[in-house]
Amino acid sequence: EKKTQPAPADKGGQGGQVAQPAAGGATPAASDTIVLGEVGSLTGAQATFGVSTRNGVDLAIKEANAAGGVKGKKLKVIVYDDQGKPEEAAQAVTRLITQDKVVLILGEVASSNSLAMAEKAQAAGVPMITPSSTNPSVTEKGEYIFRVCFIDPFQGFVMAKFAREHLKADRVAILQDNKSAYSIGLTDVFTQKFAEMGGKIVTTQSYSQGDTNFRAQLTAIKKEKPQAIYVPGYYNDVGIIARQAREMGVTVPLMGGDGWDSEKLYELAGNALDGSYFSNHYSPSNPDPKVQKFISDYKAAYGGVPDALAALGYDAAKVAIAALERAQDTSGPAVRDAIAQTKDFPGVAGNITLDQNRNAVKSAAILKIGNGKTEFVTTINP
């Protein structure tokens, strides 16, 4: 027998009511500060993602506070580490909502963790903005969940299109990270789109993040003589993969996604990635003064060129701040509505307009690597 399920909106509505006293019921400290929450992987295999994002958020908050805060109140972010585990993320977000009574939550990077958080945030009616989780299912959790980046189906499509049209590749091999939902998602989309466009995936090989030896996979790939290799993984693995590929005499370009973006990539890969491409949310070589100012501010505060995760963290915080400015009060529904209205917001990683699915509709930049730097190649629009 079918159970009459409460419509999601209905469920969210209840959540909103529950959350209202939480958000509005001001603790003494809350009178002059607005508390935001952030969850990220500050330790564990993906710690750099969390750290970059945290820095980006931190920068945005500092700027806002320097400019007088929001409606005269200072902003404060409480950051919790989830060690890259979904259950810890869920625990942290629950703590943020019920103990720290935050009005809004930022994070996570990895989609699995964002999914865990989204469930809790949605149920409590506290808005959540993920800066960089690209798996489509995240924002499907409900109307309190937003993101300021594009989604994987788009990103995979972008790269497939680029490979076909720009690189004129017929034969592409894939090397995916079997432990990462992100990598698998991109692999699936790429495989499908590339085939639709008439290309052939000659082989799909897997590794597990944290591996440092990819020679077996590369030998198997080399045998198939592909014209390019799609490596939708994280930069820490990709850097090593690139080196080993070159060492083994695999000279074709590698292609990847936003997971590549980190200054560390070039350090790890040396010049092994010269001539490779990846899709990204932003390009640090973008001459836009807003972007350049962000980069120099970031460098001053944390050292190093901000990667896309830092940029998206910054953007997510900015979007949140703007929404708080707009919202009548700090209650969940009010803030949610304010976020939902975000339109043409000028982020450093592109203009942000949230669609009715609460996803940012953004174009993707294709970057080419050369000499430890990226070079903007083209933009592909949705």
């Binding site: 330790t43 897997s206 077996a216 996979q217 080399k222 820490n236 090593i240 060492e247 005499g249 040396g270």
Partner: protein, 309 residues
Amino acid sequence: MSEFIQHLINGISAGTIYALVALGYTMVYGVLKLINFAHGDVMMVGVYMGYATAFGLGRQAQSSPWGVLLIFVVAMGGCALMGFLIERFAYRPLREKPRLTALITAIGISFTLSYGFQLDIGFLPGSAPRAFPQIIQPSQWFTLGDPEFPDVVVWNWQVISLVLAVVLMAGLQYLVYGTRFGRAMRAVSFDHRVAALMGIPTDRVISVTFMIGSALAAGAGLLYAIKDTSVSPLMGLYVGLKAFVAAVIGGIGNVPGAMVGGLLLGLVEEFVVGYAASTWRDAVAFGFLILVLLVRPGGLFGRVAAEKV
């Protein structure tokens, strides 16, 4: 065919590293019957020591013979000292206690090191992996096919690692079975109280064993970092686990066993990826381990302790 040869070379090269790390594992286990879970993390710290030294030496000096030697000496010496301290303060007080308690302190040390090194406070390196400098300038030792784009390459460092591993294994084997100190080690491993009655300074034997094991870990770690070109705080966790598996396959406590176990594990993994499903690599590796143990419950070279009823 060339592909098969390449896989073979890859497998041996990966297995060499497992074997080297496993040697230290096996040695410490042999004497203390302690699964030193922190072994991989000690290795990781050693690699960072080497990294820092290389950094300090600068690009030129780090790849000179003396530079390389210095890097190895610093890393191995530093780890020996660390191994000594860990044994002295975390394991020795528990020597008379149930074996599992020392395992827990080992896990504690492992957590402390692997998480501690993810901090970016003070001298700690932070969570991001770093590229390890090419202190051994890579050159092709052997090629097959077109010299410009060879089908098969054997690199100089692969050969160096393998030779080093074999030499170290032989040296260790000699140490354990051919020297007085080795006999003392074995005596201590069976019963350190009775060993003391033979005039064996048990504390010193254990300390030295630990220091050798840790220094070996550092050396293995450096070769590993040279091979896979990077260093990160979590590297110890993965390699440590694999090395432990290798040691068990060979028969834990057995020196040539560690070597053979490491090579076998490297080859099995390589061929699973190359010719079967790369997604199942770890499962097959463990499956292989289990299979070996079911056929030979003491590992390939180990013997199950003779128990007379």
